[in-house]
Symmetry: C2
Subunit: 237 residues, 2 copies
């Protein structure tokens, strides 16, 4: 039985569900698995027979290019369904990776497939979830073309907004257990450059990154500097 307030909260933001729908989701058979920090949850080219829900912790999706370089293409917070796509795309074109210690709930494809074919509202919510995902990818393409400091600022704005949407954190301090190497992999830069950019943002009193968290010192200036517009997150509020 699934107990993920974050998931339900998010789905309700995407599509109004009835109590019946919520019950149906709660009744899904789920297998709970714990992952240590910095471990692979699903590998590239795997053919999983189940979809994962992030119950707690932070995960990311990463692709490895032909030259061996690792590219993080998205971050995932509790309540996310980071490989819902595996329901239809049978072979993983990327890996799913636990950034921090992470609890995942796995639901077999058959059960999810049956659920969406029986419950139109849940279908809508899940499909919409994957479409918001795609919208975030679009924004990341744009973000990859921004100068390093703006790109980093934009990423922080996004993570902050998404954490607030599932009720995990409020500014100024956000949990975000990533290393500078991870940030470099996500933005396509080197750790050296990430480090310098962080220094600039810190000295400008815009934001600060500590061990496992971000501290936003000036949210307004951060958003303005990043050119952040939250339309692409399609949060209904």
């Amino acid at each position: 039985v699934i107990h993920s307030p974050h998931l339900l909260r998010k789905l309700q933001q995407l599509q109004a569900l009835t109590d019946d729908d919520v019950d149906a989701i709660r009744r899904l058979p789920v297998r709970i698995v714990n992952y240590g920090p910095r471990s692979t949850i699903v590998a590239e080219r795997d053919q999983p027979g189940q979809c994962g829900i992030v119950m707690s912790g932070f995960a990311c999706r990463a692709k490895t290019a032909a030259n061996g370089r690792r590219h993080i293409v998205s971050f995932h917070v509790p309540g996310d369904l980071p490989d819902l796509q595996s329901l239809f795309l049978k072979i993983m074109d990327h890996e799913l990776f636990a950034l921090s210690a992470c609890t995942m709930g796995f639901v077999p494809h058959e059960d999810l497939g049956a659920l969406v074919h029986e419950r139109p509202r849940i279908l809508d919510a899940f499909w919409r979830e994957t479409l918001v995902d795609a919208s975030i990818y679009r924004e990341w393409i744009v973000n990859s073309h921004r100068p390093a400091a703006e790109a980093l600022a934009h990423l922080v704005c996004e993570v902050s907004r998404r954490l607030q949407a599932v009720g995990i954190a409020t500014e100024p301090a956000l949990p975000f257990p990533v290393t500078q190497v991870d940030l470099a992999d996500a933005l396509g830069l080197t750790t050296v450059h990430i480090n310098r950019v962080l220094k600039i943002l810190r000295e400008d009193n815009i934001l600060q990154m500590r061990r496992q968290e971000i501290v936003i010192l000036d949210a307004a200036r951060l958003a303005a500097f990043a050119g952040f517009d939250d339309l692409y997150l399609h949060q209904l509020r």
Copy 2:
């Protein structure tokens, strides 16, 4: 009535459809609209009540950043459903743009919604279409982090593969009606640099771009240079 062999060919590659399914798609009410080259089909922040099918011509999706710079986030060829997402995400976070003269077929959201709720296989095919879209976005994020020449080569590999999948073209010459400005907008570079990179690829006898087409001179070397792996296109073959 829809008459798009490219669409049907592509959907069949994603998910086996019955004759009934195909008939249901053919019976969809469709409004045909022609667009001139370099014209907007759906604007950013619009709230369309219909989804478009590219019947002929080339289109793209583009986002405009806060600083005014335009970013192309995907290219679309005949048979594509470039704004299927508008079925669920009611406000456009990007624009849909005709690169060449373009014929679009528009189907009202109600009819599409009814179709996918009635026909599980069509639901699967359409959902899968949007998931392949998302997979392509992931690869574009990676591609944005490649050096300019490799990124351009990779883009050409992708367009070539997708055109072949819908039966529009075979190597070596592919129709691709884009300017160097468009390529710059798609790769996050300047036209000056695109021009220099094209010169290098031309002088290396890898590929050549003419008025409205690409000529691939050495497909094997092109793919190797780009580090191209077609897994992410999820073509079933």
